[in-house]
């Protein structure tokens, strides 16, 4: 049994507590600190200091013992993590190992964690698209999940607000399916990508092809320079941490900004056990943590608590926050906490070759790709599956791992590999999945982790809708690439487990009705109004966009609401 170490309650009391320092937690901290609230950020992982702790960021391939490949021992110790595309010899210290962070899989689910200050904002893929009107209206129109309590118009100003600060590159494309934002200069397409764009758009009048929008400073504004960040150098070594602060992360942007106000305290190594609920006031009063290293328990107190631990961790914390008022988890009167979890369907990929364009190449490494906003079931139901998918593609010239014509040896071979090969195209889907009651997380009744917290059990799987959508992507993607002049078009099912998309969402969904949702339209718990959940856990549905930008906007909006409510004396 751990020792309970309650220091003077006053020393441990803040205006606001934010659980988690990742993309949404960083935003909550910045907003609270900017508004003058003394804010404590609880982070379960180690501290990561911007630039200083990006130990591999400036290394060349030959400076790694295995040139980026993972040693066998690490792979064997981390069978789940090793399936993650971003986990390598150069990034391994920014991910949490499988061994020390067990969970239970009722069905196969790859849960990728990055427990550290900054969380996954250091290792994310940095693609940022707004949701559209159609996305928020989806559940109501198609009769799944529950209706979102908000619409695009509610979030639009907050998208603008976070985009200006974070720095989002993009082109104003004027699309209703992917609304424009506050953009820095867009990235360029290469010659093949442009050709494919033109051929697809001229053949399919309802389909759009645009350059991806991403959280990179292509041309920093004053606000970004003020944060100490600078222009993207097109290295595409982002997931090692960026010494230029050129992509948005909590470490480069929101946390140092919050720290400069003097209102921020970050407590790393603080594994949150539960939220403390006071039966008399009907409010949460604080958070109980277990020190990651000493295993000592401590309690911290605040008027308002933001839960930003990352989607499934936030579920775990709330489920473990039991009291006589809430025996099944905080705010869980309706029994829906942990349910309606969903993710993104990444099953389908397509590769192809394309002839010509031999006189063209590209310079540098672009940190985004080409995007096709969803074109399926946008205005009405058209297919035998619900919802749709976003398509990404990119084109490149063959690299030095390719097979060349003739013999694979000798000086001719070496010279051939020293020059770029023919062009090829890679295409992939990012599909919406339908949140269902049976897709859930719950707590183990008999197993705990080393901090005494019940292990999370994950019970999430694909369904028919996902495979039908994959097949539709295969046929539509193939047809589009044919129209674009490609050959040797090959479809491939990644057969990856749910979770490896690292877009898990839901379990603490927003909604209008306390009977069918956990959070209201401001991400506030219906049954415990001084607790807010603004990370992936709050998502009512997943749509097809990379979700982080939406978490940022929801967070900034929720803090604004919370502070207004505090000023009114309602919190």
């Amino acid at each position: 049994m751990v020792n309970l170490n309650i220091k003077g309650k006053k020393d441990n009391t803040y205006d606001a507590i934010v659980i988690g320092s990742g993309i949404s937690g960083g935003w909550a901290a910045k907003e609270f600190c900017d508004k003058g609230l003394r804010t404590l950020v609880l982070e379960r992982g180690k501290n990561v200091v911007h630039v200083q702790d990006y130990t591999t960021a400036m290394k060349s391939p030959w400076e790694f013992p295995n040139r980026g490949k993972l040693p066998l021992k690490i792979k064997e110790d981390n069978p789940i993590l090793s399936r993650c595309y971003a986990y390598g010899e150069d990034t391994k210290d920014l991910f949490s190992d499988d061994k020390n962070h067990p969970y239970l899989q009722d069905k196969p689910f790859d849960w990728i964690r990055s427990y550290q200050v900054g969380g996954k904002s250091l290792t994310w893929a940095r693609q940022t698209q707004r949701w559209s009107t159609y996305d928020f209206e989806g559940p109501l129109r198609d009769g799944y999940a529950v209706d979102w309590p908000i619409r695009y118009e509610d979030l639009a100003p907050w998208y603008s607000y976070v985009e200006r600060f974070a720095g989002i590159s993009g082109n104003k494309d004027g699309l209703d399916t992917l609304p424009d934002g506050e953009f820095l200069q867009p990235w360029e397409m290469n010659v093949v990508e442009k050709s494919i764009q033109q051929r697809i758009m001229s053949h399919y009048k309802d389909r759009n092809v645009i350059i991806g929008r991403c959280a990179h400073l292509t041309k920093p504004d004053a606000i970004h320079l003020q944060q100490g960040r600078s222009q993207c150098m097109a290295r595409r070594l982002c997931r090692r941490g960026c010494p230029f602060g050129a992509y948005f992360s909590s470490n480069a942007s929101t946390l140092p900004w919050a720290a400069r106000t003097g209102n921020l305290t970050i407590r790393p190594d603080a594994v949150v056990h539960s939220i403390i609920y006071d039966e008399e006031t009907g409010r949460a009063t604080g958070v109980r943590i277990i020190d990651r290293l000493t295993k000592e328990a401590t309690e911290y107190f605040a008027h308002v608590i933001f839960v930003n631990a990352s989607a499934l961790n936030s579920n775990q914390i709330l489920l473990n926050s039991t009291s006589s008022r809430f025996p099944n988890g905080l705010g869980n009167d309706n029994g829906l906490l942990g349910k309606y979890v969903a993710f993104h369907n990444y099953l389908g990929t397509i590769s192809a070759k394309i002839d010509g364009f031999q006189d063209s190449y590209y310079y540098g490494r672009r940190p985004t790709s080409i995007v096709m906003p969803n074109f399926r079931n946008v205005h009405k139901q058209e297919t035998d599956f619900l919802r749709g998918y976003m398509v990404f593609y990119s084109a490149k010239r063959g690299g030095w791992t390719r097979t060349v014509e003739g013999e694979q040896l000798g000086s001719d071979y070496k010279e051939a590999l020293s020059e770029p090969g023919d062009w090829s195209v890679f295409m992939m889907m990012q599909g919406e999945t339908i949140p269902k009651e049976q897709s859930k997380v719950h707590l183990s009744k008999d197993q705990t982790d080393q901090w005494g917290i019940p292990l999370l059990r994950i019970d999430v799987d694909y369904d028919d809708n996902d495979t039908k959508m994959r097949d539709d992507f295969f046929s539509e993607g193939t047809a589009m690439l044919e129209k674009a002049g490609c050959r040797d078009i090959k479809t491939r099912d990644r057969k990856q487990n749910p979770g490896l998309d690292i877009h898990e969402m839901g379990g603490v969904r927003m909604g209008k009705d306390p009977k069918t949702s956990l959070l209201n339209g401001f991400n506030q718990m219906h049954e415990c109004p001084n607790v807010f959940v603004t990370d992936g856990a709050c998502m009512t549905s997943t749509s097809t966009q990379n979700p982080s930008l939406t978490f940022m906007a929801l967070t900034a909006r929720a803090v604004d609401h919370a502070v207004k409510e505090m000023k009114k004396g309602n919190l």
């Binding site: 060349s60 490494r365 672009r366 010239r397 040896l409 000798g410 000086s411 070496k414 020059e419 770029p420």
Partner: protein
């Protein structure tokens, strides 16, 4: 190594080549009992790598990039014991084939003979679809590993490819003419 694989080697060397399949079979199989390369095997691997990626037109080759030394360390970290055995068996098979074909170990062959010998392995590997055919499947793996070791080395990447640690910008379209170098990233 399976007998029919050796026979395939014979086919690729063509009529008149004198290889005793039994000899290769007998000589190479028992030798692979250690999954760590010895000094002689590292030297042998270095010469095989140099034949595949030779120093040429003043540009470094596999030996300049110490590819064999890299592979020795890399397979210790990253390969299973069986994968290491397969790799070592492959280079021993190459050496034994050299002895059978030319009555000399691989390291003592001239450039032309080395090329001819690995050409036979390369062609056999290319033609082979049999996953159980260890020697030739492994030859392709060995070659890929040599290419990886070379082009991720400092001399390989800086001298033979277009290397920019900090490109500074991205341009979607630049002119390309035959002979211009490839980017270091794939």
């Amino acid at each position: 190594m399976k007998r029919r694989d050796v026979l395939r080697t014979l086919v690729f060397f063509g009529v008149g080549s004198l290889i005793n399949p039994a000899h290769i079979w007998m000589s190479c199989s028992p030798k692979v009992d250690r999954d760590i390369m010895d000094e002689g095997q590292i030297v042998l691997l270095g010469e095989i790598a140099e034949t595949i990626l030779p120093r040429h037109k003043g540009l470094p080759g596999a030996k300049d990039a110490r590819v064999a030394q890299f592979i020795d360390q890399h397979i210790t970290d990253c390969y299973t014991g069986q994968e290491r055995l397969d790799l070592i068996q492959c280079i021993i098979t190459i050496d034994e084939t050299a002895k059978a074909r030319f009555k000399k170990s691989f390291v003592r062959l001239g450039a032309k003979q080395r090329f001819e010998l690995l050409q036979a392995f390369d062609r056999a590997a290319k033609a082979n679809k049999d996953k159980e055919n260890i020697a030739y499947t492994n030859y392709s793996k060995l070659r890929s590993l040599i290419v990886f070791g070379f082009f991720t080395s400092e001399p390989g990447m800086k001298k033979c490819l277009r290397y920019a640690a900090i490109p500074g910008k991205y341009s979607g379209q630049i002119a390309y003419k035959k002979g211009d170098k490839i980017w270091e990233f794939n």
